[in-house]
Amino acid sequence: MKKISLNIDSNPETLDLADECIRALCVLTPLSSVEVDGVRQAVKEALNNVIIHSYQGQINCLIDLIVSFQDNDLVISIQDTGIGMDPKLLEMDRSAVVDIDPSDIEQIPNGGWGLYLIKELMDGISYSTTAGIHTLEMKKKF
């Protein structure tokens, strides 16, 4: 198994660097350009969630981004030590987010799209906490 770990600050302005790393690593897989864009989007959304929710906007906290190639899976783990996320959020039916009534736009949420996008774009997602370290693991098959 090939694996690489990146340590980044919880600063939105540094996420471009993480994105470039993900893009470059995806080149090592047979994923199509559309699928690669989807992986990049999912990682961006996951990192946003860590910064906004787990670290509550603090910009100097540590995020570990671990990318590995396991058989035919690209596995991306994002670890943080913030307040974490309620794992039940992953079990919720996120289709309600996009169940839009065009005649009533006030009901459309301004936010909360990130988890929905991650679930749509990736083939598997799990969340766990061990010894205060929260891990969101996302898989993309290739």
Binding site: E13, V34, E45, N48, V98, I100, E106, I108, P109, L117
Partner: protein, 113 residues
């Protein structure tokens, strides 16, 4: 993120370029768009043809602008979606609430109709 604003036939047109993502870009874009809608007629063409990437924070900017415009009996239409942005709009099914055009002339005709 770069923004420029112009008007034509009382229709506001805002051209965005770069990445519309969480951070300063989203903060700046949200403020600018809401200011334009507040001062203008509430009819806005949002040119995204040079937006290379957008995240869900960017989506929230579009939705906020649409709600503000509809609050003034106006509308926001999207112009020139790049493939990445189009995919995001379609994944979230927001094409149900935004009219989308590839040509500015067509967007202006729609807004003036």
């Amino acid at each position: 993120m770069l923004l420029s604003h112009r008007t034509q036939d009382k229709i506001d047109i805002v051209d965005l370029s770069g990445k519309l993502v969480m951070g300063d870009a989203v903060t700046e874009a949200r403020k600018k768009l809401l200011d334009v809608i507040k001062v203008g007629q509430g009819n806005l063409i949002l040119n995204l043809s040079k937006v290379s990437f957008m995240d869900s924070s960017g989506l929230s900017v579009l939705i906020s602008a649409l709600k503000a415009a509809r609050g003034k009996k106006g509308d926001v239409v999207l112009l020139g979606l790049t493939p990445a942005v189009r995919t995001l709009i379609e994944l979230t099914r927001l094409q149900q609430i935004f009219n989308i055009f590839q040509e500015e002339a067509a967007a202006l005709t729609y807004m003036n109709s």
